[in-house]
Symmetry: C2
Subunit: 410 residues, 2 copies
Amino acid sequence: MKEFFDCLKCKECGRTYPKEAQHVCEFDFGPLEATYNYHKLKKYVTRQLLESGPHSMWRYEAFLPLEESPTVGLHTGMTPLIRAHRLGKVLGVKELYIKNDAINYPSLSFKDRVVSVALSRARELNFSIVSCASTGNLANSLAANAASSGFKSYVLIPADLELAKVIGSLVYKTKVIGIRGSYDKVNRLCSEIAGKYRWAFVNVNFRPYYAEGSKTMGFEILEQMGWEIPDHTVICMASGSLLTKIDKAYREAIICGLVEDKPYAIHGAQALGCNPITAAFKKGTDLIRPVPNPSTIAKSLAIGTPADGFYAIQTIRRTGGFSEDVNDLEIIEGIKILAETEGIFAETAGGVTVGCAKKLIEKGHIPPSGKIVLCITGNGLKTADVLKDHLQPIQIIDPTIQDFDKIVAL
Amino acid sequence: MKEFFDCLKCKECGRTYPKEAQHVCEFDFGPLEATYNYHKLKKYVTRQLLESGPHSMWRYEAFLPLEESPTVGLHTGMTPLIRAHRLGKVLGVKELYIKNDAINYPSLSFKDRVVSVALSRARELNFSIVSCASTGNLANSLAANAASSGFKSYVLIPADLELAKVIGSLVYKTKVIGIRGSYDKVNRLCSEIAGKYRWAFVNVNFRPYYAEGSKTMGFEILEQMGWEIPDHTVICMASGSLLTKIDKAYREAIICGLVEDKPYAIHGAQALGCNPITAAFKKGTDLIRPVPNPSTIAKSLAIGTPADGFYAIQTIRRTGGFSEDVNDLEIIEGIKILAETEGIFAETAGGVTVGCAKKLIEKGHIPPSGKIVLCITGNGLKTADVLKDHLQPIQIIDPTIQDFDKIVAL
C-alpha cells in the first residue's frame, strides 16, 4: 500500500532507489529489496484488521509493495494449514503442521503468491508483456495469471522439464521457450533479455516486488497458528528466496506487535543433486559453490547458483536452524509418507521438505516437542511421473465377484 | 445435523427408512434420499449464520445428513466463484461466472465434497473400510481422504483410466483395482461387493449421504452470487447426480428464505461419446437408453447407465433448461478457451461444460443477458495428456540473445 511502501533499498549498502523496475544496486550490484515505513505500519495493522480482510493473501496487502489495490491474483493464498497428527506420529514429533500451497490458486504452487504481486505491480508500472525464467511452477503461474489478466506472456524454461509443467503452461497460450541447458543458463539469458526489451521479468527486473509475495505464506502461518511463531519451520530452497521471505514475515509481524517475540528456527531443505546452499551451510562457510549440472528429480529446486543462497544461510544461522539435503529415493519416500498419512499429494519439492524434516528430527536438529511447520510448495500432479516405478501396482481383474474375492483375500 | 436430518426416503414411493447404510427402496427399488425437517431448518439458518461459518463447505452443515460434527474433509469447499469477463466476451454474454472446483481440497475436484460427507457418515455408522466405483476423480478423493482420516480403502476403476488419475490414487496407498470393462461394469461389481462385504461404498450403499455433499456447490454459488439464484447454471453430467443436487440446494435455499424465489434454468452438459441423458432429453423422452461402449476423452463423464439420469432430465425440463453435448475436439476447444481467457485449467469434463455452454448460447437456449454460472468440476492436470497434440509447440533454442531475438521477431 502506498502509505507504507517506501522504496527499494540495496540489501548490501542500504542505498535507496525509486519504486521502478530495477533489481540491482548500481554501486555494489547488491539485490534491491522493498522496504516499508514500519512506524506507520505498526499503527495501522492489528490482528483484528487482518482477520477481517479477504480470504486470500491480500489480507496482508499492507505488507506488500503495491501502490494501488491489487489487480491480479485476487483469489490466491489462504491455503490450509493442516494439523498433521498422523505424519507427526510417524516422524516422532508431538505437534506438526503442514502449510499446504499444493492447492494454491490458480496454478497449484506458492508461485501464485509472487506472480500476483509482480503482475499487479507490472500493471501499475504500465508494462504490457510479462515474462520469467522458470523451473516450471513459476511458468505455470505466470501463464495462468497473465491469461486471466490480459498480459501477453513469454516463459523461458529448461528444455527438459516435466511434460505436465510444459502443458500446464502452454494451455494458457503463453509463448513457451525451451532453452537447451540448465536453469542457470535460462536465468542468465533472461537477465540479458530484460536489459534489451521493456518486459516485466517477474524474477529479474521485478524481483523486488515478486519476492515480497512469498511473505504472505509466512503471515498466513502465523495467523493460522493463532498468532504465534512456530518453533521450527522447514522450507525447501531453490534460489533460497522463499525461506528468507518467510523469515521476513515473521520479523515484520514481531515489529508490528502481531506476535510475541520469541526464539524460532528456520530450516532449509534441498535435493542432494543440487544442494549448493546446504553444502555451504554444512561446510560452515557463506561461500556458495555453484552446482553446474544439477541432477535431481526435484527439478523445481534445481538452481545451481541460487540468487538468495547467501541470505538463506544467514537466516538459517541467525535463527539456530539447520540445512539438510536428501537423495532422489528419499524424496520419493517423502512424497509417499505425506500422501499416505495426510492425504496430501506434493510435488518432488514437497518430498524434499518432508524428507529433510525427517532427517532433521532423527538427527536432533528438531526436537520432538515444540511446534513444527513444514511448507509444501507445489502439487504432486505436476511431477507424478517420478512415482511410476515406486508405487504398489494396480491389480487388474475381470468384473466378477470371484476375481474380486481372490484379490481381497491376498 | 441431528436436529434437522430426518430420515432416508424413497424418491419414488416416499416410504421412509432409518439412517442406515442403505440406498434402495425395498418395495420399488427407487433410490433413497436424505430428507430434512425444513420447518426447523428454516427457523435456524440465516444468511448471517451461514456467512459466519467456517471457510469450507461445512458452513452448510445444517443441510447435510450427519448426526455429529464432520470428521473428514474439514478443508473442503468454498472454492472461488470467478467473474469471467474475458470468457464472457468471447462467448458473447454479459455476466458470466465460473464456479471453480478444479482447486478443491484435497484432491482437486468436486468429489471432495461428496466424499467428505460419505466418510464422515461412515465413521458415524462405525465402518472401517471405505470403497467406491470411480471414473477417476472419486478414486483420488476417496484415497486422499481415507488416508488422512485413517480408513482402509479400496477403489475400483476401469482399467484404462488416465495415468495421472491412477497415480493420484495409488500414492495414498489405497488398493487400486482396475476392472476390465466400462465404468458400468465396475459399478455393477461394486453393488455385488457391497452386498457381500460390510464396507462403506460411498456411491453405492452410502449414496444417500454421499450425494448430498454436492449440494454445497449449489449453496456456495448462491452465497457467492450475493444470495441470488443465477438465471442459468450449466453443469456437466456423468450419473446426473451433481445437477440434481445443485438444483436441490437452490430449492432448499428458497424454502429457507435465503434467496428470492424466481425462475432459473439448469442446463446439462455431456460428451457426445457418452450422452445418454442429453440424447434422451433431445428426443423428448424420459427413457434413458444406455450407452454400452462410451468413447470420449471425458472419461470422468463416461457413465453409460446414469443412476440419476431420469431425475436430471426432470430437473432440466422443470426449470426450462436444455441439455447439450460436444465432441472430443469441442471438448479440447472448451479447455483451451477457458485457460486462455480466465487462467483456469480444467479437466476434460470442464471442456464439456464450456463447450456445451458455448453451443447453448449460440443456439439461443441461454440468452446473452442474465447471470450465467458454469460449474467446473476437476483439474486439468488430471487429463493433461489429451492436449499434447492440440497446443502450439514449445520453441527450443540455445541460451543466446541472438536465438531469442529470432524467436520473438517471428
